[in-house]
Amino acid sequence: MIPWLLEALQCLMTLILAPVLIGFVRLLKARLQGRRGAPLVQPYRDLAKLLGKERVVSTQASWIFRAAPLVLFASTLVASLLIPLVAAPLPFDRVGDLIVVVYLLLLGTFFLALAGLDTGSPFGGMGASREMTIAALAEPTIALAIFGMGAGAGSTNLGEIVARTLANPGSTLSSGHLMAFAALFIVMLAECGRLPVDNPATHLELTMIHEAMILEYSGPYLALLEWAAQMKFFLFLALLCNLVCPWGVAVALRPGTLSVAVATLIIKLAVLAIGIALLETRLAKLRLFRVPELLGVSFLLALLAITTSFLVR
């Protein structure tokens, strides 16, 4: 019974905290730019409003258009069962490892790109093409980071990686570990459509990527997409925190340790969110064809991380 409750807790936390996290980043950015900004709970209000609106579906669209939001949301939700947010190892630890998490997120992107093409709108196609390009170019970095962590822990299962880092705290300060963190951070910016890769606030036709792909969506469908994107951001950040700095994650399932775990997770996420808000106020969006260079840097960092880990062992 307890394991199921734990998984349900992870799921609920992802569903509930993801919009607040986005709200927090937006609020911080607004303050840094000298605006007052919307309150923390604004994303909830947006979602609630979208839920009550009608869906407008293009006459050209097929069932792919209607299925894509479901696939995206479901795959993101399942990923939240696998990532150790508050406890490790999770009961579902052996259902999916880090590779599964990454490819589950890619599954959602795949269907969303198809939906972008489905309406026949030039923007949808453009967004789909760009989003898939960036996702493809981010893949090798992710794989190398997984390879490095997996080689260190002897396993790609997240519970094992977290346990190994906890048992061996010195390893987190090794150059390999830090470079893997930097590489994954860059990939996170790309995958979640943050600056400098994509501007989540833009609706200027030719610069948008993610927003172009979902331009035709409205009502509850759009709510699903927005929520899934927020969850993906939340999960990526949580993954970054807990892989690199797993302290606070509960190894024994007691109410005390779990509440500590939730509190530390929130603190860690807040620190990362502040970092992202600072970064996004300082950086301008890159031209699309400069993005591969950024991803190339992340790939090189990951490659360095791995080779150093081979040389120093």
């Binding site: 097929s62 399942v78 579902f92 259902v95 489905d118 090798p140």
Partner: protein, 689 residues
Amino acid sequence: MPPSFEVIGFLGIMAVSYIAAAAAALLFEDDRARRVTGLLSAAGALSGMGAAALGLAAGRSSVLELPSALPEAALEFSLDALSAAYLILIGLVAVPAAIYSLGYGPERAVGAVDGALGRHSTGWRPARAIVPLFLLAMSLVVLANSVFTFLLFWEVMSLASYFLVIGRGDSPENLSAGRWYAGMAHAGFAAIAAALWLAAAGTEAGRFEEIRQAAGMLAPAARHAVFLLALLGFGSKAGVLPLHAWLPRAHPAAPSHVSALMSGVMLKIGMYGLLRVGLDLLGGGPPWWGGLVLALGVVSALGGILSALVENDLKRLLAYSSVENIGIIFIAVGIGLVFQSYGMAGLASMALAAALYHAINHAAFKGLLFLGSGAVLQATGTRNMEEMGGLIKRMPQTALCFLVGSTAIAALPPLNGFASEWMIFQSLLAGAAIPYPLMAAMMAIAAGTLALTGGLAAVCFVKAFGIPFLAMPRTAAAEEAREVPRTMRLGMGLLASACVLLGVLPFAAAPILSRAFFGMPGLSDTPAAFRLGLVMEAGAGASAISPTALALCLLAAGGAIPLAFRLAGSSRALRRAETWGCGRAVQSPRMEYTSTAFAEPLRRVFADLYRPAKTLDIEFHPESKYFVRSIQYQSRIRAWFEDAVYRPLFGLARPLAGTGRLIQSGSLHLYIAYIVAALLALLLLARWM
């Protein structure tokens, strides 16, 4: 050990059905020929699978020698676990392809959309007879137990597929593809023959057992030569870079169910040959053998998918993607050989099982995608994706099958492509434990490439599904497309379910994968390094996933979400409206993103590899150059790589061919004289020896 009665029975039924299928194609009239040939071929493939199942269950090899006057030319077959695994792989594609062929008409000329040319027009009869012979030859290659038998049926296999590629021989495109194929297949044959004869030099009759025993006594240089020649010959059949040039030409030219067999099965026969010679007969070698195979795999995987990405011809795209997948398989075979040479028996078994798993999975999804492309071709009369669009509404079931294949080949969970690529990644990860930093670093780079390939494959198959099937039809032909006959849909449906089952229930493949390498030198017979159960485990249980549970979770989540939304009181109002077009009045297919445009960002990113050539002609208005009358944009990607490799070879071969032509007069009398002369020379030689 002689085979059991049942095995002989199944193999006999297999051979008889295939031969009867070929005969039926020649004897009967059009529609009946199609039906009888298709059903008999399916029966043949099924009995082959039956024999294979018995062979796997027996867990030992059984040898069957056919009586013959000459001991050197005796036909000898053996059914061991590896042959059994490949017989199953052949059947996996052959049965659906045979069912599909029941409804599949001759391919219409590209661009022609005439109903009169549809499925009831007369096909070229011999072509239909060759398909079962092709299947028989492939089955006998994997069963061959002597050099002579192997080479004989290898050549029959190559020739049969050559005739299927050129078809009636009236299309210059097919004839050119056929020339490429024939040339490279025979160069490959020469290399394979040289390798096998070299390995069999000291033996009496060239039986595989004899070679196995003699291989230990071979000089190291001879062993290396055998391996390299075998890699050259089998690599060219498998289509690894840079020996792939025939593949994207020949596979699209053949009828689509034959393309499915060529890409899904025949390439794997090349992989079989490499395993049989390198691993079984030679018993493995130094680490650089595996390293070389691994490097070839990395290059092929990346080169194949990059070529597929910019392709607009649906069948050529699929053919290039086969190069990519063969590359992935070679990566896994390479790691297996590396592990084996370091004496890491358990890990070697895991990597080779992963290679075989991906080979079986690729047979399922590539077979499916080629069948799907054939359905699209039959419905629209074109292979050019820029002329399709909107087919999901006109051919919903074909579209669903094609979507399953695309998702599987993009290695997305929970389908089969993901399961095997996960195992290959785990094998690479285990390779990080190899104590030589260079080899370990190679594993890391291979892992990065594998991931890049996977990502690019996802882009490629968003395009391959999205452009033909989604949005609005781009031409009248696509507008008028209709769903294909039921038998064709059944063929595709079978393979689509195979993709789902092999991914969601990986333990279904476990009996094949855990036994296929039984008794091979340097591998563990009870591989503890991996386990395929409800939970898939790799690296002796260190890493684990459960595709079954994952699929259930996804289904549950997908079902719960709409329910939860309804409970939360979300609006259910739905309105149909035109796609937003920036205020334009009419939505037209010209506004859609094209296949070329979709691949454009990656074409720019990898411009150094593609070296695209473009011409831009702008005609300005005479009044002012701010007004444009017409813009013509042309962009081409030349296969500079092939030019660089093959041009010099052609330059070398042409004078030789000119010399050879001197003795080819075309006169029958002269050829008879040649035969008599050759016979005399041989008799004299025999006397003198």
